[in-house]
């Protein structure tokens, strides 16, 4: 029974991880470099949502605030720091993104201090479904995350701009020939991807707490989820997030919680060794 409970817990944390993982992988698909500034952007999004929620905005409004602030900040850093370097290759841009992540983290620290903060949401006792314990709040948060994912997938599948994004990710030259302007798609991918990362930061903070290191804590799991599913693949990121979430919770039972970080590293190692394209391949939608 405890294994089942751990799996349920893993699904919950996997769902929350999936939102920023989609953002991360979508940016990789279009911009072709791993943007590690997601750690700082997730933190920024969490704090933007926190301020909006504290100011009286409802959940949807606060999530929108987290999305917009994180999207704008992420886009600005991409334009100013990462994309100018991409001509030199993915590595310089990735390294620059580590630096911008640190900058954002410290900007948040400067503005809010180090103390952890919590969203002013009532903490409710868990409810039992059979013998499985679930938290009403986590169900709500999970529902929000699932709704967001549905919206993203619907946008990618059915809207003109979503199709343009996919086309540009699959073959930028061919897409350009068809009149899709790559820089416009890059701007959109940057904004939406970072927006999702910001929302992810807020969703993760809703049930726990937020501080300047909120994003840094999830960076490894997030990257592992994206690599496991296949960098550049949005459904892959979701699958990867679920698998990483469940593996991390199950690892608590087997080797102890202190080795949780190893789960992410092992996942990256195994995938890069045996199936470098990830479970769902590089560009599957």
């Amino acid at each position: 029974m405890i294994i089942l409970q751990a799996l349920v817990n893993g699904i919950v944390s996997g769902t929350l991880l999936a939102v920023p993982a989609i953002g991360f992988t979508a940016m990789f698909a279009v911009l072709r470099f791993p943007n590690f500034s997601v750690s700082g952007v997730a933190t920024l999004g969490a704090f933007a949502g926190y301020l909006a929620y504290g100011a009286g905005l409802q959940m949807a409004g606060s999530l929108a605030a987290a999305f917009v602030v994180a999207g704008i900040a992420g886009l600005a850093f991409d334009k100013m720091a990462h994309l100018p370097l991409i001509k030199q290759g993915a590595l310089p841009a990735a390294i620059a993104s580590i630096a911008t992540g640190l900058i954002l983290e410290n900007v948040v620290r400067l503005a809010f201090g180090n103390e952890p903060r919590g969203y002013d949401r009532p903490i409710a006792r868990d409810v039992f479904i059979g013998e499985i314990r679930v938290s009403p709040q986590q169900i709500e948060t999970m529902g929000l995350a699932l709704l967001l994912m549905l919206l993203v997938f619907a946008a990618l599948a059915f809207t003109r701009i979503g199709k343009a994004m996919r086309a540009s990710a699959d073959n930028p030259e061919l897409a350009a020939l068809k009149g899709i302007r790559p820089e416009r798609i890059a701007t959109l991918a940057s904004f939406v991807g970072m927006g999702l990362v910001g929302v992810g930061g807020m969703l993760l903070g809703l049930d726990s707490s937020i501080d300047p290191l909120t994003g840094t804590r999830i960076l490894l799991s997030l990257f592992a989820a994206a690599v496991l599913g296949g960098l550049g693949s949005a459904p892959g990121a979701v699958l990867g997030a679920f698998l990483i979430g469940m593996a991390e919770e199950l690892s608590v039972l087997v080797v102890g919680s202190q080795y949780r970080a190893a789960v992410g590293f092992i996942a990256i190692l195994v995938v890069l060794t045996l199936r470098p394209r990830g479970l769902l391949g590089e560009r599957a939608y």
Binding site: I2, Q5, A6, N9, G10, V12, S13, L16, R109, G113, N114, E115, P116, R117, G118, D120, P122, I123, A124, R125, D126, R133, S135, L204, D207, S208, S209, D211, P212, L213, R217, I218, E248, E249, V252, L253, G256, S257, Q258, Y259, R260, A261
Partner: protein, 398 residues
């Protein structure tokens, strides 16, 4: 803008004059350099800035009164980020670039463990507030003191307190820290003597939820849970314990379960009845009052009081040793608390007495500040509080 022109001849003449003057004259112009290395960011972030401020205030007072050995003191403050790697970089800068003779205020045990070898190898004196037993067991050659009671002493008292709560089954939830193993060892010794079983779990302090860990703990039906992490992870842990419907008693260290945690949890019933435990500063002593003023806080935390003591002790050691080297501080740090000496509660009075040829017995803001040969303090009081309706209420100081 006016510019002062110094010709080659003038510069040469000045340089020759400076070199020709007696060494002591030049030395007097050199300030004494000391440093605080506190966690301005990271998990210890709520404490480090106040600690650094208290030390800076003491230095300001002493400088106003003429300094030590006729020299001004310069206090360099660096951030250890509650992170051993960052702390080592900062310590290297303090030792190699600033050339400080003492570093004060390292907070996390992992930080102190990483920084200590740099200090003893460079003969820089290190004063720490970290609790892990292993720290004073390092081959520090006397270049280290700590004002925090070691974790063995602290955890022994925690164990005794758990027994006094009538516990029969205790469970410890703790992240991986240098004091994790000694915590288990001590509790496994102390608790069974009082008829209480003890089980434990190490968790990852970077997780955003501890539901599975809580499930594992609750499977053993504990009546007391020792939540032994830092503030950010303890917030998550306490929420998850509440959600899981845990009805037993919860106990934690006051460095993590503090007013900030209560405010942050935001819902009093989640933390209702939680006990906290801390080495107690010497509340009511005159040094404690001075630490209040130095830190600008009406209720300075134990670490701030300890850093207040560090800087006072180091400055008096320099006065006693008539030299501002790490070696001199090491040889004289215990001479600031000589029984029978003049009772003082600050370095300004202490230095005055020492320079007049007297002996001093410093009674600090954190306690008596007497150290054994390993660098551990010999005596300290402990304070137990319980959270009631979101407020900390004193249970006892013993």
């Amino acid at each position: 803008m006016n510019t002062i022109r110094i010709g080659r001849r003038t510069a040469l003449a000045g340089g020759v004059a400076a070199l020709a003057s007696p060494a002591v004259v030049r030395a007097q112009a050199d300030p004494i350099k000391l440093a605080t290395l506190t966690p301005l960011t990271g998990a210890g972030g709520p404490y480090g800035p106040v600690m650094a401020k208290a030390a800076a205030s003491v230095v300001e007072e002493v400088n106003k009164a003429g300094g030590v050995l006729g020299r001004r003191i310069v206090l360099v403050s660096e951030d250890d980020q509650t992170n051993p790697e960052a702390a080592v970089r900062a310590a290297r800068k303090l030792i190699d670039v600033d050339k400080v003779s003492a570093i004060m205020g390292t907070w996390a045990s992992s930080v102190t463990t990483a920084v200590a070898p740099l200090c003893w190898e460079s003969k820089t004196f290190l004063c720490t507030v970290s609790g892990a037993d292993s720290i004073t067991l390092l081959p520090h050659q006397g270049f280290l003191i700590r004002t925090q009671p070691n974790s063995r002493l602290q955890v022994t008292r925690v164990g005794e307190f758990i027994l006094s709560l009538g516990a029969k089954k205790a469970f410890t939830m703790i992240p991986q820290t240098p004091f994790t193993q000694s915590t288990f060892d001590v509790l496994n010794q102390v608790l069974p003597k009082g008829g209480c079983t003890h089980q434990s779990l190490i968790y990852d302090d970077k997780k955003t939820t501890y539901r599975t860990e809580v499930d594992q703990a609750l499977r053993t039906s504990p009546d007391v849970i020792l939540a032994n992490g830092y503030t950010p992870d303890t917030v998550v842990l306490l929420k998850d314990l509440y959600r899981a419907g845990f009805k037993g008693k919860i106990l934690g260290f006051a460095y993590s379960i503090n007013q900030k945690l209560v405010d942050q949890v935001g819902q009093p019933e989640v933390v209702e009845g939680v006990y906290t435990f801390a080495p107690s500063p010497a509340e009511g002593s005159s040094a404690f009052e001075k630490a209040k003023a130095a830190s600008g806080s009406a209720n300075p935390d134990p670490y701030t009081c300890q850093v207040y003591d560090h800087i006072n002790l180091v400055l008096m050691a320099i006065a006693n040793g008539k030299a501002a080297t790490g070696e001199a501080i090491k040889e004289n740090i215990r001479k600031a608390t000589v029984s029978g000496g003049k009772q003082v509660d600050n370095a300004v009075d202490g230095i005055k007495e020492i320079m007049a040829g007297g002996k001093v017995d410093y009674a600090g803001a954190s306690g008596p500040c007497d150290f054994d040969e390993k660098g551990d303090i010999l005596d300290c009081k402990f304070r137990y509080d319980q959270i009631k309706a979101g407020k900390f209420t004193l249970v006892k100081i013993a």
